[in-house]
């Protein structure tokens, strides 16, 4: 019998790649992959629902679901990063440590993006920097942003401005028109249609004046993980509502496919480290000593604390009006996984 054919949009991700390449299969499903920059994926998925299955911003998903968007998530979290440790500051800002960000100008690609949600939440909860005492600058325009599609308005009491269209996060940080942003060089951002920092790079400017907010990212990563017990997630995968209702079995089958793809990659992780690192095994051992053998757990059970924190942050940041139950957010057949 013919398999169900589904178009599938996602960024390249090492632990999803075996599924996109067809090395592992989701039972009963034939996926046709489209590789795409996440910012473009989310715009297309939120605005037009172009793909029956695709990667989705967790923060925008919470907002979209509250506003009735018709999609359902799988508890599959392909990417995790220590987003707050990706912040850099301009040395003329007077900032020396995270607490000094109070009263400063912080640039973000998009106010509601998950990276910014984590940055605000962690600065607030772990470093005493209230989001209401920071001046926020957003790079993406209303037309080309996820917030443009989900009806974003700056939350009440937030100091919010847009970066002028002839400037970028990169140019404003290096020229000290911003004090802080998650960018540390003119080449930091991969090209995409929504951002400007790869086009307006200020490549000739003095990037030695831009320094990482956390000088020792490993130490900060350890502190964060020891306190919170997880690494922050930014994306999940969603199934469009019409497909999910017509083929409810797709959710479980896809979930298992994602799990198998991750296992396939994990078994080959050590050998996938470029030989140019020389000490790949040693580095892997360091990471595992900090975060355990599987810092990328899938499923609800292993991610309950993380999901509760995401929902809490989203709610206290005024991005959603009501806290949803975790059970409403994920396909029913995956709730026990």
């Amino acid at each position: 019998m013919a398999k169900l054919h589904l178009n599938f949009i996602s960024a390249y991700n090492e632990r999803v790649e075996p599924l996109m390449k067809g090395i592992v299969k989701a039972e009963g499903i034939e996926l046709t992959p489209t590789y795409s920059h996440p910012s473009e994926t989310f715009l297309r998925q939120l605005r037009d629902g172009e793909f029956p299955v695709g990667e989705m911003s967790m923060s925008s998903y919470l907002i979209a679901r509250e506003r009735g968007f018709d999609m359902i998530a799988l508890p599959v979290f392909p990417s995790r990063r220590l987003f707050h440790t990706e912040l850099s500051y301009h040395v003329d800002s007077g900032i020396r440590q995270p607490a000094d960000i109070i009263g400063k100008r912080v640039g973000v690609s998009e106010y509601q993006q998950t990276a910014a949600l984590w940055q605000r939440g962690i600065l607030d909860h772990d470093f005493g920097v209230s989001q209401y005492e920071v001046h926020w600058y957003m790079e993406r325009t209303e037309e080309l942003s996820h917030g443009g599609v989900t009806g974003f308005k700056p939350p009440e009491g937030i100091s919010f401005q847009r970066i002028p269209p002839d400037k970028s996060l990169a140019s404003m940080l290096v020229n000290h028109e911003l004090d802080v942003a998650a960018i540390n060089s003119p080449w930091r951002n991969a090209p995409n249609q929504l951002g400007r920092s790869h086009r307006i790079t200020a490549a000739g400017a003095d990037w030695t004046k831009v320094k990482p907010l956390f000088e020792d990212r490993l130490a900060e990563g350890k502190r964060f993980f020891d306190k919170w017990g997880f690494l922050p997630v930014n994306h999940a995968y969603t199934i469009r509502g019409d497909i999910y209702r017509k083929y409810p079995w797709v959710a479980f089958n896809l979930f298992i496919g994602f799990v198998k793809a991750k296992e396939y990659f994990n078994a080959r992780l050590a050998e996938s480290i470029p030989s140019g690192l020389f000490f790949g095994k040693e580095y892997l051992a360091r990471t595992q000593a900090l975060f355990g053998d599987d810092p990328f757990p899938y499923g609800i059970k292993a991610n309950r604390k993380l999901l509760e924190t995401l929902i809490d942050f989203s709610h206290e940041q005024g991005l959603i009006g009501q806290k949803p139950k975790i059970e409403e957010l994920f396909a029913e057949s995956t709730l026990e996984l």
Binding site: P274, G276, L277, F278, E282, Y283, R286, T287
Partner: protein
């Protein structure tokens, strides 16, 4: 091996140690100074805890297993043990896994150099099985802590998995890597690329064209190295920075100038280990068109 025996390919990757031997015997091929792989081979050695060894200086009188006596990894291991740790190759009992038929030495007419204690590992056994059983004291073999080394050969089939009595000879590979690099100024190479003699004579322009291609390919990969690091390491940029601190910004230099010290060391080791009858000259080993690189 097939390349040494049959010259099947016009252009091919080649073991540098076997190349030196083959050239000293008149083989018709010429090398390009493009060295695609470098490793700290001595740090890939493991020892059995019942051997009485506690460090590399204790290897005199012990049984050391390698995949192939003349392979470049073994050349480096012998040379570094001798020059950096004072362990003479004549005081070690060498055990080789590959059979004569399925070895590079079989193709280049390998005979154990005079004065060397040399045995072959029983064909029903492997480097791994003999190390785990302490029928060897030390071996260069893939282990839970060394990904590379010789993943092929018989150890992938014959062995077992109880590594509890085996330890890495250098428990801190990064420290030993940094020590080696500080002292020698390079990281050991095992392979180069060669052009078959008939092709080189027919198309003398090919050597420079290929060499430039290898240089450009490397630059392309170097630029993308950071993004090739799996995100699962979480701290890819930091780890890459650590590697650069330990072994420099370009641990894979191509060309003669940047590799002269390393090539002098290799030709020296090869000669003093009795693999080549004289110390070969760099100028005779590489295509003339690449000597100024």
């Amino acid at each position: 091996m097939a390349q040494l025996k049959f010259g099947e390919f016009e252009v091919a990757e080649m073991s540098v140690s076997s190349y030196l031997i083959a050239r000293s015997q008149g083989a018709d091929m010429i090398a390009l100074p493009a060295f695609p792989s470098r490793r700290l081979f001595q740090t890939e050695l493991s020892y059995h805890v019942d051997s009485g060894i506690s460090g590399p200086q204790d290897l005199a009188g012990k049984r050391l297993g390698i995949a192939e006596y003349q392979q470049t990894a073994a050349l480096w291991i012998r040379g570094i043990l001798e020059h950096d740790f004072g362990v003479s190759q004549y005081k070690i009992h060498w055990y080789m896994e590959r059979s004569e038929e399925m070895s590079h030495g079989g193709a280049t007419g390998f005979k154990p150099p005079p004065g060397i204690s040399f045995s072959r590992i029983d064909p029903r056994k492997s480097l791994k099985s003999t190390l785990l059983a302490n029928e060897l004291d030390v071996a260069h073999v893939a282990s839970p802590w060394v990904l590379q080394a010789n993943a092929l050969d018989r150890s992938s089939r014959i062995g077992g998995d109880d590594w509890s009595k085996v330890k890495p000879l250098f428990p801190d590979r990064m420290a030993e890597g940094a020590r080696f690099y500080r002292q020698h100024g390079f990281l050991p190479v095992n392979h180069a690329y060669i052009i078959r003699g008939d092709i080189h004579r027919k198309y003398p322009w090919l050597a420079a064209a290929l060499y430039n291609g290898f240089e450009r390919a490397k630059a392309w990969a170097q630029e993308r190295l950071a993004e090739q690091v799996p995100s699962a390491l979480i701290f890819g940029p930091e780890y890459l920075a650590t590697t650069r601190e330990l072994v420099g910004d370009d641990p894979f230099p191509f060309g003669i100038r940047a590799n002269r010290a390393m090539l002098e060391t290799m030709t020296q080791y090869s000669h003093e280990q009795g693999l080549t009858p004289r110390k070969l000259k760099i100028e005779e080993l590489f295509a003339e068109e690449t000597l100024k690189t």
